[in-house]
Amino acid sequence: MTGRKTLREVRAELEAALGAGPAGDDEVAESLRRFLAAGRNGKGTPNQPLHLTGGASLVPESSQPTGAPPAGER
C-alpha cells in the first residue's frame, strides 16, 4: 500500500531527525539532502498535474468498471 502519510509529513519527520541531511557523498546521503533542500526551498516535488477535462455531462461512475485492458495488457 502507498500509505497515508503525506510527503509534507515525511519531510517534517526527516527534518526533525536529520536536520539538513546526513553527511557523506554516497547516493543515499545525497538523495536525502536533495529531498530536504527541496522542501526548504519550497520547490516541493514536481508532480504531474491532474488535468480534469471539462465537459457538460458528468457521468457518475463510482461503480463503473474501468473496462477490460487491451489485449496484451493482461
Binding site: V28, L32, G44, G55, L58, V59, S62, T66, R74
Partner: protein
C-alpha cells in the same frame, strides 16, 4: 463515520486516467493487470494484488492517488506506482523473493520503497522514495544515524540483487 466520496468525473477523464496509470505502471516494469477505480480506499492511493502468477498480479490505483499526485506537497503518481512495483518485485523476483520471504509488514514497506526508488530514474521520485523508506524506519523507532545506515546497506544490497 463520515464518508468522503470522489467527485464524479466524465468517462473520458476515467479513460485518460487509466491510460496514464497504465503508461506509468509499464514504465516502472509492473507486470500484470492495471486498474483505475474511481473510489476512495484505505490504502493511501494504490495497492498491489498478488495473483496466481505474475501475469495475474493486479495494480489498483484509486481516486485519491490522482488527487495526491496533483498536490506538490505529496507523492507523485510515478512514486506511488513504483512503490507498488517494489511490492511486486519482492514477491516475484527470484533472488529477492528467496532472500526476503517472511519479512514483517513494516519491513516490506521499507523494502518496497527502496525497490521503487531503484526502478525509477534518478531524480525527485527516487529521492522521495528513499526519504519515505528512511521515515518508515524512524517511525519504527530507529535512531536517525541507524536508519540512514540501514537504508544505505539495503540500497546497496537490493541494487546488487536486482
Amino acid at each position: 463515520m463520515a464518508t468522503r466520496s470522489p467527485d464524479p468525473i466524465p468517462l473520458t477523464e476515467s479513460r485518460r486516467r487509466r491510460t496514464q496509470i497504465l503508461q506509468v505502471a509499464r514504465s516502472v516494469g509492473f507486470v500484470g493487470r492495471v486498474e483505475y477505480r474511481h473510489v476512495y480506499s484505505q490504502t493511501g492511493g494504490a495497492q498491489y494484488g498478488h495473483g496466481a502468477g505474475e501475469a495475474a498480479d493486479l495494480l489498483t490505483v484509486f481516486a485519491e492517488a490522482l488527487e495526491r499526485a496533483a498536490n506538490p506537497d505529496d507523492f507523485s503518481l510515478r512514486a506511488m506506482i513504483a512503490h507498488e512495483r517494489g511490492h511486486q518485485l519482492l514477491a516475484r523476483h527470484p533472488r529477492l523473493s528467496a532472500r526476503l520471504a517472511g519479512v514483517s509488514d513494516a519491513a516490506e514497506e521499507v523494502l518496497a520503497s527502496l525497490l521503487g526508488a531503484l526502478v525509477v530514474e534518478p531524480g525527485s521520485d527516487r529521492d522521495l522514495l528513499i526519504a519515505k523508506a528512511t521515515a518508515e524506519l524512524l517511525a519504527a523507532g530507529r535512531e536517525a544515524e541507524d536508519a540512514v545506515r540501514l537504508v544505505r546497506e539495503l540500497w546497496t544490497t537490493l541494487g546488487e540483487l536486482l
